[in-house]
Symmetry: C2
């Protein structure tokens, strides 16, 4: 029997109108759509974004990923979830796996695809790229990520002072993802380098409550939303 | 009279199905679509990509950008083209400006928008993000750009050995845009750092003749297409 195709679909940063035509077409053709959730019963943000484009007849199957689990537990989950997906493909069914933003950027899809390739080398896996949250952040902030011969660095989650300093020195644009956890340290570094005025922070981009902060020093002492991204242009 | 809105629209990397629903909707609403061309009479790649979604009645207006012009000539072109766009907006018409990939990444749109803001501070300028060629390259190569706490660097066009070496040392993934001009130097650096097996090259991504080169050493001595991108994963 023909083995099904798995489509890793990027649903974009939040606005259901930012899905691609290709993503919408595939969602209307597959019998089952896998969606990642952080715990049983939790809502999937990717499923919410794609919601308006899911036919009433499609099966939406949650896959539980323990986002903050330890390495071995996490790897085990990836294997299990890949096996669940593989079992459906083995029935000859095509399937979609939804991912917020783009499947190539900070997505669980990569791990499931990797496990699936090992478990079922015959599986056909296709990536349907989507608009990433980083591009939506740049659009919301009205800032270019890069132009001409400019260099762009994406730094996620944690930043040592040394990494920050060399990124601000060597790159024209630095994007700091999930900046909330290191906010004061980042603001100190920007101040020290005279870059505060060149920074923009976008909170909850593409989601309800989105806002752009042009003067990032006003964020000092605030509890910043987890989904906050800072873009720093390092040249005048 | 109401001043029109300018929509900077990313049309994605090449496949007309990778436009977003939002891009398609706006293209069907605006009376005029500006498209960048490199010389009078030249074809616009962005217009070709968006072609299937342009209504027969829409006016497609080419704007000539001298891609390799000197700084002052180039800046003058941006000003002139922004004035052309601004004149239409001043009539109360909305307009679209097409850009390959995403308007925030290596797009002429940023310059036109910058000039337009100075010429007409009242202009409403909206960026409609699109799938960038970098994401399409990653999807084609079956490679993740970044995962979890990984760092990503985009380096365009020219690379000194020092910049290459520090990028390969400090980042988990390095994307080398327009790699053709520096191919031998990049291959030498990859060899010296033991990273050759971790590199993938995608030629003419999303365009006719697209191909993925898994063994980049086979490219030595070849004349590589201008639209070639290399992705290097720097960790085992």
């Amino acid at each position: 029997m023909r083995f099904g195709t798995l489509y890793g679909i990027g649903v974009g940063p939040g606005d259901p109108e930012l899905l691609t035509l290709k993503a919408v077409r595939i969602l209307q053709q597959v019998p089952v759509v896998f969606v990642p959730v952080t715990r049983p019963g939790a809502e999937s943000l990717a499923a919410r974004i794609a919601g308006p484009h899911l036919p009433a007849t499609v099966e939406v199957a949650p896959l539980v990923f323990a986002m903050r689990a330890e390495g071995a537990v996490m790897a085990d989950r990836w294997e299990q979830n890949a096996a669940t997906v593989g079992a459906r493909l083995a029935l000859g069914q095509d399937a979609a796996f939804l991912t917020e933003g783009d499947p190539s950027l900070y997505s669980t899809f990569q791990h499931v695809a990797g496990c699936l390739r090992r478990q079922h080398p015959e599986a056909d896996i296709q990536v349907i790229p989507g608009v990433s949250s980083i591009q939506a952040v740049a659009a919301a902030a009205g800032v270019a990520l890069a132009d001409a011969d400019e260099r762009l660095a994406l730094l996620p989650a944690t930043y040592e002072d040394k990494a920050l300093t060399s990124a601000f020195r060597d790159f024209d644009t630095v994007v700091l993802l999930k900046v909330a956890g290191a906010l004061e340290r980042v603001l100190d570094r920007l101040d020290a380098l005279g870059l505060t005025a060149n920074a923009r922070c976008v909170v909850r981009c593409g989601q309800p409550g989105e806002r752009v902060i042009a003067d990032v020093n006003t964020l000092r002492g605030a509890k910043l939303d987890y989904f906050s991204t800072m873009i720093v242009r390092t040249k005048p």
